[in-house]
């Protein structure tokens, strides 16, 4: 039995007097899909930001692939195999879909400035290999028809898909998705869920996602972590979470 791919241990994070996260611990297994849910302002995005090194927690640590870190910067997290998408799409609007996805390969590019400038030898071979990897992702996410379209001209749902494609281009071991289905219609959500499941099955990528649509969360996750006001109030399988009184109270309110 492998250790969990990611362990979050007693993480606390505060901004001035505001406690965003209070003593959070949970773990994500290899090749699993874990969902983080909770009302607005519960600290979900902050938690993702701690995991990939954007925020530095005041207490606690994150153990990724058996390597503990409490001092990590985002590019190191990326290099060690964590990729993410953002709640507000963060793509290069003026660049084509293909170019955007290629940027996801940047950590894997080795050619120096000189050989790149003259496009010679190993650089050319490298470029072809990267392009092939990107084409496989384009094929996988079925976005062939917009390969050359500037991202800014695409509808929201497709931009989300391109962002997922860019994250996949880094061939991550752990994929962090921040509200991948926000603002989508039913059909787009179904497509996106399918893609997340396919990524998980096909590449064996572990996924941690934040999502508000309970239907989606219950359908695709192996495990759910529930946050409320920065505290973990529940953790378990979809069935366990559905029957957890604390979670029901947090979502539906309690009568005093």
């Amino acid at each position: 039995m492998l250790n969990p791919i990611l362990q979050v241990q007693n993480v606390s994070l505060s901004f001035g007097g505001v406690n965003a996260l209070k003593d959070i611990s949970f773990s994500a297994e290899h090749k699993s899909i874990l969902a983080i849910i909770g009302p607005n302002g519960a600290g979900k995005s902050s938690l993702l930001n701690v995991i990939n090194g954007v925020y530095k927690p005041q207490q606690g640590k994150v153990i990724f692939k058996d390597k503990s870190w409490d001092q990590v910067v985002p590019f190191e997290a990326a290099r060690s195999g964590i990729a993410r998408t953002f709640q507000n799409i963060a793509l290069f609007k003026g660049m084509s879909v293909l170019e955007n996805i290629l940027t996801g390969r940047s950590l894997k590019m080795r050619s120096g400035l000189l050989s790149s400038a003259f496009y010679i030898g190993p650089c050319k071979r490298e470029e072809v290999a990267h392009r092939e990897a990107v084409e496989h992702i384009i094929d996988f996410l079925q976005i062939q028809h917009i390969r050359k379209t500037p991202v800014g001209r695409l509808p929201y749902g497709l931009q989300k898909r391109v962002e997922l494609a860019r994250a996949l281009a880094a061939e991550p071991d752990l994929l962090l998705l921040d509200e991948p289905m926000a603002g989508m219609n039913v059909e787009e959500k179904e497509d996106m869920s399918r893609f997340v499941l396919d990524v998980n099955e096909e590449y064996g990528t572990s996924v941690i996602l934040i999502e508000h649509d309970m239907g989606v969360v219950m359908d695709i996750s192996d495990k759910i972590v529930v946050l409320d006001y920065g505290k973990k109030i529940g953790e378990g399988t979809p069935v366990q979470i559905k029957n957890n009184q604390k979670v029901i109270d947090a979502y539906l309110g309690v009568t005093d």
Partner: protein
């Protein structure tokens, strides 16, 4: 050497491999690159595939189901089955599980080759309900890694089994091919059918090969032509053009990357031979019109001027009719600065011959393409006649006729105005359905097409409508619904129309707006709307459609026989008619009786003079789930 009397498709492929081994037979865009296979490689692929299928128990006279988008491997599957004397049964790739289930059971399918996970899922869903299905082969492995069902086998594994079998039984494949006769069934095509359950049309090798040979001669097609194959493989048109003609003539078939990339792929390939139902030509024109609306004032004026010049002289110049030098020069300059660049954008600049069929094409639409220099012609036929009855010859085009009968095809019109056809390229029978076969054929062997029409003084066939759809208004005026609908559908804003009027005092119409065109128009006008339903209920949209109907009504004045069948009232439907909801056939023809029944309250409201009517309808989503939508549909009188 293959003579025409014993020709079968596998033998013709072997001939092509011998005559032009290195010539490209088929291309497919994969991972962004056009991959190609020459005839020699194609023959080997088919050989291994056939051997693999034989190893898995596919035998003579058994049926092989094929489901998916146009892919080289699926075309090879057809030839592989035929090599063994088995019969390929292509199924529409967008058919829902129920429809596929019917075909699988009817044709007792034991082996199926499908494109991807989507089709695999559908077949696995059907699996418990069919006793015969034992093997499902899939081409695209995406998402199928963790499927454990024992019936599933990857295409590559099947090919490997075949390669191994072939290396140990060198003569097996050639022996099997030599057992085939040209009178054998080569394929069963299920007709989508505007009424009732689909029927399997059995067609022989010789039916296809004689039709294809005649077509090739008619349009001087050669092995240097190329075609984009993007229409459903289960449709007679695709089988005639992309399979029968391609193999007989030896030209190149190009399979698009996906159904969404067809327009881009068309530009990259630049086919010389093009085939599309009127719907596609309509969509293309709609796109052009939408883009022109966004163009600058100067460009718009240039566009309109060029179209006028094109309309006046384009078709005549193409048909070799006398046109003065100055007008030729004028057309030439419009061609240079406008038509050629437009055709280039559409990917049609190399097209030598283009055909449309499957439904009547609006005369204005037809003239538009001819005026910009595409040699667009109409052909007429149905699945039962391998789409080989009439064709328009170069230089002898009339936009309201479908041309003269092809050589060897006999046509007559019976007392009710129904067109009857007899030719060497006809169905052998409906599969396991002698009653239907008897009903479809006259005692002297003519096929009843179900279309009403007549042969004009020049020997051209003119189609009016489906004979069962033609009705009379209460005052005795002839009511030909499709005739009206086709006129309506020429407007870019109208995607689909259904007219009612048989045994009524007036004619009323359902309109489906074209979301892209109307949405664009609404955006220009600054109309806010949240979705399709809301858009359809806007008063401005009703005014827009009303204008279109007014135009159609005034055009009707020109047809004395139909002048009284003007459209008096209409409504804009709150949902798009959809094949998944059984409102359209898979080839996108309106199933009139079904629509009339489903929307009976709306029809009643139309004829009762009501101002609006609320209705709740059930809709099916692509994944087979269903839901309901309800709306309050407005009704408007038209001028």
């Amino acid at each position: 050497m293959v003579t025409t009397t014993d020709a079968t498709f596998p033998k013709l492929i072997a001939r092509n491999a011998k005559l032009h081994p290195g010539k490209v037979a088929i291309r497919h865009k994969d991972l962004g690159i056009w991959q190609s296979w020459n005839w020699q490689e194609v023959e080997i692929e088919i050989r291994y595939l056939a051997c693999g299928l034989a190893r898995h128990g596919l035998k003579r006279d058994m049926n092989l189901a094929i489901v998916g988008n146009n892919r080289p491997r699926l075309y090879w599957s057809m030839a592989a089955a035929q090599s063994l004397g088995a019969i390929p049964v292509p199924i529409y790739q967008d058919a829902v599980a129920d429809e596929i289930e019917y075909v699988l059971n009817n044709a007792e399918i034991s082996h199926a080759i499908v494109e991807d996970q989507e089709q695999v899922d559908k077949l696995l869903e059907i699996l418990p309900k069919t006793s015969a299905l034992k093997h499902i082969y899939y081409d695209d492995t995406r998402g199928l890694k963790n499927y454990r069902e024992s019936v599933l086998i990857e295409y590559n594994d099947l090919r490997a089994i075949g390669e191994d079998y072939d290396s140990k039984n060198k003569t097996f494949f050639d022996d099997e091919i030599n057992k085939n006769k040209s009178s054998d069934n080569s394929i069963i095509l299920y007709t989508s059918g505007t009424t009732g359950k689909p029927k399997g049309v059995c067609l022989s090798h010789s039916a296809w090969i004689s039709a294809a040979t005649a077509d090739i001669k008619f349009d001087q097609l050669s092995d240097s032509d190329s075609i984009l194959s993007y229409l459903p493989m289960a449709w007679v048109g695709d089988h005639l053009f992309s399979y029968a003609q391609a193999i007989v003539a030896g030209f190149t078939v190009n399979c698009p990357e996906s159904s969404d990339t067809v327009m881009a792929d068309l530009r990259e390939i630049g086919p010389t031979y093009y085939f599309a139902p009127p719907r596609i030509f309509e969509d293309l024109l709609t796109q052009v019109m939408i883009r022109m609306e966004d163009a600058s004032h100067l460009k718009k004026q240039l566009f309109e001027y060029s179209l006028k010049i094109g309309k006046n002289f384009g078709a005549d110049i193409m048909d070799g009719k006398p046109v003065s030098i100055s007008n030729r020069l004028l057309y030439g300059s419009c061609n240079l600065i406008f038509f050629r660049p437009l055709l280039n954008v559409l990917g049609l600049s190399r097209v030598r011959v283009a055909y449309t069929a499957g439904a009547a094409i609006g005369p204005d639409l037809f003239e538009f393409y001819r005026s910009i220099g595409i040699n667009l012609k109409q052909l007429y036929g149905q699945t039962e006649t391998v789409a080989h009855v009439c064709k328009q010859a170069d230089g002898d085009i009339k936009n309201d006729s479908v041309g003269k009968p092809m050589k060897g095809v006999n046509i007559k019109v019976d007392g009710n105005g129904e067109i009857l056809v007899k030719s060497p390229s006809m169905l052998a029978e409906y599969y396991k359905n002698p009653t239907a076969t008897d009903e479809a054929l006259t005692s002297d062997g003519f096929f009843k097409t179900g279309d009403a029409g007549f042969i004009d003084a020049n020997g051209h066939l003119k189609i009016i409508d489906r004979s069962k759809d033609i009705g009379r208004l209460n005052d005795g005026t002839m009511f030909a619904p499709q005739f009206l609908e086709n006129k309506l559908k020429f407007f870019p804003y109208i995607k689909e129309a259904v007219c009612f009027g048989d045994k009524k005092d007036t004619v009323c119409a359902f309109i489906n707006i074209d979301l892209e065109a109307v949405g664009n128009w609404a955006e220009k006008k600054g109309l806010a709307y949240a979705g399709y339903i809301e858009l359809t209920a806007k008063a401005e949209i009703y005014d827009l459609i009303s204008e279109c109907i007014m135009n159609v009504n005034s055009e009707l004045e020109k047809e004395p026989e139909l002048a009284n069948s003007r459209i008096s009232r209409f409504l804009v439907l709150h949902k798009e008619l959809d094949a998944d909801d059984e409102e359209l056939t898979r080839s996108r023809k309106v199933r009139r009786a079904f629509v009339a029944k489903k929307y009976a309250p709306l029809i009643e409201a139309l004829f009762s003079g009501a101002k609006e009517c609320s209705i709740t309808t059930e809709v099916k989503f692509e994944d087979g789930r269903s839901g309901t939508i309800s709306a309050n549909v407005l009704i408007k009188d038209s001028q």
